[in-house]
Amino acid sequence: MSESAEPFAAERTAGARHGWLAGVNPVAKLAASAVIALPLVFTLDIVSAAVAVVLECVLFLFAGLSWRTFWIRTAPVWIAAPLTGVTIALYGRSSGTVVFEWFIMRVSEGSLELALATFLRVLAIALPSVVLFVTVDPTDLADGLAQVWRLPARFVMGALAGLRMVGLFIDDWRALELARRARGVADAGRLRRFFGMAFALLVLSIRRGSKLATAMEARGFGADTPRTFARESRFGASGWILVAIAAAVSIIAVAAAVATGAFNFILGPQD
């Protein structure tokens, strides 16, 4: 292998991590998700969310994601969004004609409209976030946060190293479960056992964490020397393009809502 300063670019082929989007700085993806989400969080109408979803779906075609990956990764969103909608329809603030009523459930025209707006909103915010983050590698994100946004390296790298321990916790949890069966205490008291295991896991994770901290310190982590970065993280033109696209989606969505008179700013005067 050649000793270039960026030895991974050519080799990174795992999973969905290729295509145009994979080369965009993770920080740009974070910013783009925020730019799309922001206006949608502060409005509550059908038009802006619907326009955003439609535009996003067109853009997804160019994201370089296979259909299979797309549906697998976004499946939770497709489940959560309708559930949110149904909840709002049943229990949301009602207005207009009441369509259906039973106990505390009351479905009205107003709550149905609210439900549809919420459903679309969840899709419009969550789908692009999922699609953008499928191609984000945690290490690259940490590099970006530390170099592009200049967040403290101590905090970012510490969080990154800690994240890697999550897999160990899952193994620990399984072992704790089996060990309790082996020790004869797994027949009853499920709730109490759960808390006991949670506490044991906490103790184990603190121990693992302090060992990891020692290993990191032994490699000079936390010293006063200014830290350098082995991998350069550049925001670059592609980053700006992605953020610009996200901004365009937001602007078009809000503009469409204003133009049709549907615009409903949640902090503004209520009708």
């Binding site: 060990a179 205490v185 490699r219 020397t225 350098t228």
Partner: protein
């Protein structure tokens, strides 16, 4: 390897001591020691003599005033060790807790980044370090896919990339299988030959390290603080104090722990047998027909039987599924295919499938000792830990005491009866979990790596105890990569290979 920038370090301890915060006793006190640049030192001593503390002190990772109190001076090249970041590289015992980043190249580069090495110099250093330790994998290889020996060499490469003048190794091979031990020792030898760095290594199993070192220092804790009990060439020290060291738990060649006598009784009837077994740690089969080919299956077509009064050793390299097999025949994991069947002599009034027994019903039938003792600790005291099983069986206090007292004494836990299990040493924890399993007198005992990282004294005690249980008619299953255990117990061997 490019050795520019590597200058062997000199060590001076002048009345140095360290007391961990919240402890009354000093871990190290009044230590006087000098190690010259380029020396290769094996540091020995009984457990509690302060070896690890000294190593951590030299690496500058003992921490500040909140972590403990220091006395005297500990100098690396004449400067306080704590201020000499980057002069020392430290490799610790546990392979899993030393991996810092997700990709091999990034992990090795981590130390260089922290030292502020310019980017264009980092990647050549990473390549040199990986070459030096003989870890020939792609830079973007996921670190979690490495074996234990590879992880330890990765940690070594991470230290080497910092170009330290002092290499500190704290039991770097205690958790490895024999192949991993060879890999790591070989890698350290190549690094030292290339850099000439000073080496201080702490390790119970000295035989693997003897060809590499030219000085052995034995620490002892006495009235006057930490003293150097013996110091000199390996031949002189081990020849002179070998017997004393062996008694203190060090594995000295020629003074190895005594093996128990062979089985006194002939092998008796089968307690449990397994046929056509396919095992997995997570998978639960939906269809029996395709289950044997499920992706998570680590081993298949396993057939074995566990007999009363006999020991069975499950051996094989890391990742072959030894622990999973142990848990499966212990009635804790359901097999993906095939079956585990307990004979009526073991099952009693219950059915033959141990997975269908209740947790409490396992206690008198199959006892399990896990690889990591901390996974199975349940109580706030050592004594409480031993009472868990008998209490679940509904035994009265008198009978409980009658069982627990002899166990506490037998496993040298009587003085620790009120201690919190989490505060025990590794060897004490191991003895505790074995005692806890024995408190309910199971007919069959499954132990996962019971001798992992144990000193020679604990090793000898455990093996003697297992041999005694075997001769009393218990069926013993040990999952191990320690060939000495297999030999000492005269165990039958069931060898697993890495599949896939």
């Amino acid at each position: 390897m490019n050795t520019a920038g590597t200058r062997p370090a000199r060590i001076d301890a002048r009345g140095w001591g360290w007391r961990h915060a919240g402890r009354a006793a000093w871990a190290v006190a009044g230590l006087e020691l000098r190690i010259d640049a380029g020396e290769r030192v094996l540091l020995l001593g009984a457990s509690g003599s302060g070896k690890s503390t000294l190593l951590h002190g030299l690496a500058g990772v003992l921490g500040g005033d909140e972590e403990g109190e220091a006395a005297g001076e500990l100098l690396v090249d004449g400067a306080p060790a704590a201020a000499a970041r980057g002069r020392a590289g430290l490799v610790l015992q546990d392979p899993d807790s030393q991996v810092i980043l997700a990709r091999v190249g990034d992990d090795v580069a981590f130390g260089c980044e922290n030292l502020g090495v310019p980017r264009e110099q980092i990647w050549p250093r990473v390549h040199d370090a990986l070459d030096a330790v003989g870890l020939d994998v792609a830079l973007d290889r996921p670190t979690k896919a490495l074996s234990g020996g590879q992880k330890q060499r990765l940690a070594l490469a991470g230290a080497v990339a910092m170009r330290p003048g002092l290499l500190l190794l704290d039991e770097p091979t205690a958790n490895l299988d024999p192949r991993g031990v060879g890999e790591v020792v070989g890698a350290v030898g190549r690094v030292l030959d290339a850099t000439g760095a000073t080496l201080v290594v702490v390790e119970h199993r000295v035989d693997a390290w003897l060809p590499l070192v030219n000085r052995v220092i034995v620490l002892g804790a006495g009235e006057a603080g930490t003293t150097v009990v013996a110091d000199g060439s390996p031949q002189a020290v081990l020849g002179g104090t070998g017997a004393t060291l062996a008694a203190a738990g060090v594995w000295v060649p020629g003074f190895g722990p005594r093996h128990p006598s062979p089985p006194t009784t002939a092998e008796a009837e089968t307690l449990l047998d397994a046929t056509g077994l396919a095992i997995s740690r997570v998978h639960r089969p939906r269809k029996a027909s395709d289950a044997a080919f499920a992706p998570n299956v680590v081993a298949r077509e396993i057939a074995l039987d566990v007999r009363a009064g006999s020991a069975l050793a499950v051996t094989g390299p890391n990742g072959a599924g030894k622990s999973t097999l142990g848990l499966t025949i212990a009635g804790l994991l359901a097999p993906v295919a095939g079956r585990v069947r307990a004979a009526p002599i073991l099952a009693g009034e219950l059915g033959p499938d141990p997975m269908r027994w209740r947790s409490r019903e396992l206690l008198t039938r199959i006892g399990t000792v896990f690889q990591d003792p901390e996974h199975q600790l349940l109580s706030a005291t050592v004594r409480g830990e031993l009472e868990v099983g008998p209490r679940a069986l509904g035994l009265g206090q008198a009978e409980m005491d009658a069982r627990i007292e002899p166990l506490l004494e037998r496993l040298r836990l009587d003085r620790l009866a009120r201690a919190n299990p989490y505060t025990l040493s590794g060897g004490e924890k191991r003895r505790l979990t074995v005692a806890a399993a024995l408190a309910t007198a199971p007919r069959m005992l499954v132990l996962d790596e019971p001798t992992f990282g144990q000193d020679a004294r604990t090793w000898a005690e455990l093996v003697a105890l297992l041999a005694e249980l075997r001769d009393e008619g218990t069926g013993i299953v040990v999952v191990t990569h320690d060939d000495d255990v297999v030999r000492a117990l005269h165990a039958k061997r069931y060898a697993l290979e890495v599949q896939r």
